[in-house]
């Protein structure tokens, strides 16, 4: 059995958790086992059926009023207790802010190893074999875990969503006892970034700008281009962020976010190694740069050599036409 922790935010299951569940389903089929979803919270049973859409064979709901708000300590306690009893072969998490916060805690509680931010999962000798970029994508590690359950976090936007299964399985509810004083840290407030469309890590299309944009006002050009696509976001190089043109939340790269959208536009971005670290697992990369020698062209699938202030509006116009067809 491969279990997947289903992250919920604002009463919805995250897409990246459904991606992880879809991958669990594919690997479980290879191993001849089941893929189950595990929800943690208070009164979240209703969300269980959502997991079947990604092919879950069953859903476990770990419930306690003490788990109404996310806390790494409380959630780790619930998951580790469940895993010790249910004995899954593996537990997968999405490598999101919550998944990265929680998975290592669960691993330590169970005394097992963890593989972070995987971009590939295979089955080898009855175990999972994980692939992940290290050294900011300059090397690729494949590894397995000697300990059980095998724990891993999976990079969002990398694993395709599976098909919904008709005749969904069972939702099993377990009450969790969280002892008084066991949770010494908790989330007191969630602050949404104003006007934040969607986070770069979750976007399917990203339009990123660099120093070539020359000033904050010109990010409007990129926003127009991004707005043509659903689930899109505006990204930025560190130079643009450090110049104060756009918030740090938008930074892509080694000290920013790691993204893997279906389509990544790098506009006026030179393609420094630290920027590439964050975006080179994008499926299709498009570069717009006036310098034909810019390193970004070495990784781009498509590039235009030209002045972004001319090219981007024309590109937006052409895309609008194409998308309207």
């Amino acid at each position: 059995m491969i279990a997947v922790f289903m992250e919920t935010r604002d009463g919805k299951i995250k897409k990246s958790s459904l991606e992880a569940l879809s991958e669990a389903k594919r690997r479980a089929a290879e191993l001849g086992g089941q893929a189950v979803a595990v929800l943690v919270g208070s009164g979240v049973e209703g969300l269980g059926s959502g997991s079947f859409a990604a092919g879950a064979d069953g859903v476990y709901v770990l419930d306690s009023p003490a788990l109404a708000d996310y806390s790494a300590q409380g959630y780790a306690l619930a998951l580790a207790e469940w895993a010790a009893e249910a004995r899954p072969a593996a537990v997968l998490f999405a490598a999101t802010a919550m998944g990265r916060d929680l998975a290592p805690r669960v691993a330590a509680r169970l005394g097992v190893g963890l593989v972070s931010d995987c971009t590939g999962v295979a089955v080898m000798n009855g175990k999972l074999e994980f692939t992940r970029p290290i050294y900011a994508g300059k090397a690729v590690l494949t590894c397995s875990l000697r300990s059980s359950p095998q724990l891993a976090t999976l990079r969002p936007n990398v694993f395709p969503l599976g098909e919904a299964v008709p005749g969904a399985g069972e939702v099993v509810r377990k009450d969790v006892v969280v002892p008084d004083g066991a949770v010494k840290g908790r989330v007191t407030e969630v602050l949404k970034e104003e006007s934040c469309e969607i986070d770069v890590t979750e976007a399917e299309v990203i339009v990123s700008g660099g120093r070539g944009l020359k000033g904050p006002e010109n990010f409007a050009l990129l926003r127009e281009l991004a707005a043509l696509f659903p689930r899109s976001a505006v990204g930025a190089s560190r130079s643009a962020v450090d110049s104060g043109w756009i918030g740090h939340q938008h930074q892509v790269g080694q000290t920013g976010k790691t993204v893997s959208p279906s389509l990544y536009f790098a506009v006026g971005v030179s393609g420094a190694i630290q920027h590439l670290a964050g975006m080179s697992s994008s499926k299709v990369i498009v570069a717009v740069n006036k310098d034909p020698e810019a390193p970004i062209f070495k990784v781009a699938d498509y590039g235009i050599v030209g002045d972004l202030f001319q090219v981007v509006p024309l590109l937006a116009q052409e895309l609008k036409k194409a998308l309207a067809e």
Binding site: Q73, A76, R100, P104, I134, C143, I273, Y302
Partner: protein
């Protein structure tokens, strides 16, 4: 306030990474090693907290003898004391292994610590595991990927980055906090600091002292392969009239890449 900061020695981010396939390890010769960049934010935050509240800043690194250099740099930045947990093992990419050494050192060597500061991830291994694992092993609360930290009266409030915003976390002390860029601007070493750091002793903590036997720290991660990434095929670069290239690009995205 007694503050512990954990730092790791890593190849600098500009490094060209080469791989020795026989040992499934990177080639370390010729690389320039530095304090993992996020750990510098952790050091800086510790120094600022000491300036505000008084106390002691101790910096700890687990690794080979060479890690003394990054510890010395932390002393030059202003840390009071530095310690090396001597571990001769090559990189294992196993966060739990490191976390167990650190947690044990905290228990045995540094009782009475109020705050444990880390980087959000060690560049290279890029694991983001050790801080939360140490927190769990010690039964402490945590806030990871923190861009703002306030400490007062035995408690802390941290802002951590999440998708599309931030989360405020209230923690009782002692607690684990991992630093993200944005928390502060790390200071440079001063000449005076560098001179003083040269004279300081950096005590070594052995794994035996921490009660680990020969097999206790066997890694759980089994490396099956280490390679350079498949090079992306060099793509099509369009030059010429902007209107033509824009039209051509959209046609390619639609008909060839099939993303539009």
């Amino acid at each position: 306030m007694n503050i512990l900061v954990f730092i790791k020695r890593v190849p600098d981010t500009e490094s060209k990474i080469r791989i020795r396939h026989e040992t499934k390890a990177i080639v370390e010769e010729g690389l320039n090693f530095v304090i993992s960049p996020y750990d510098e934010f952790a050091i800086e935050e510790a120094l600022r907290l000491r300036e505000a509240h008084g106390g002691v800043v101790r910096v700890v690194s687990a690794g080979k003898d060479e890690s003394v250099a990054v510890l010395r740099k932390s002393l030059a930045m202003g840390a009071d004391e530095a310690f090396l947990i001597k571990d001769a093992a090559p990189e294992t990419y196993d966060g739990l292994r490191t976390a167990r050494m650190i947690a044990r050192a905290v228990e045995r060597k540094f009782p009475g610590t109020d705050l444990l500061l880390f980087g959000k991830q060690s560049v290279g291994a890029d694991n983001s595991q050790v801080p939360a694992m140490v927190a769990e092993l010690l039964g402490l609360p945590q806030a990871t990927v923190v861009t703002k930290l306030e400490v007062a009266h035995g408690a802390a409030t941290a802002c951590r980055e999440i998708e599309g915003g931030a989360e405020k976390v209230a923690l009782s002390l002692p607690a684990v906090v991992s630093a993200q860029k944005g928390l502060n601007e790390p200071r440079y070493e001063t000449l005076k600091g560098i001179m003083a750091a040269k004279k300081k002793d950096i005590p070594v903590v052995t794994l035996e002292e921490l009660g680990f036997g020969a097999d206790d720290l066997a890694p759980q991660v089994e490396i099956t392969g280490l390679d350079v990434p498949a090079a992306r095929q060099s793509g099509k670069v369009l030059q010429g009239d902007p209107a033509d290239t824009a039209r051509e690009l959209v046609a390619l995205l639609r008909n060839e890449a099939k993303v539009v």
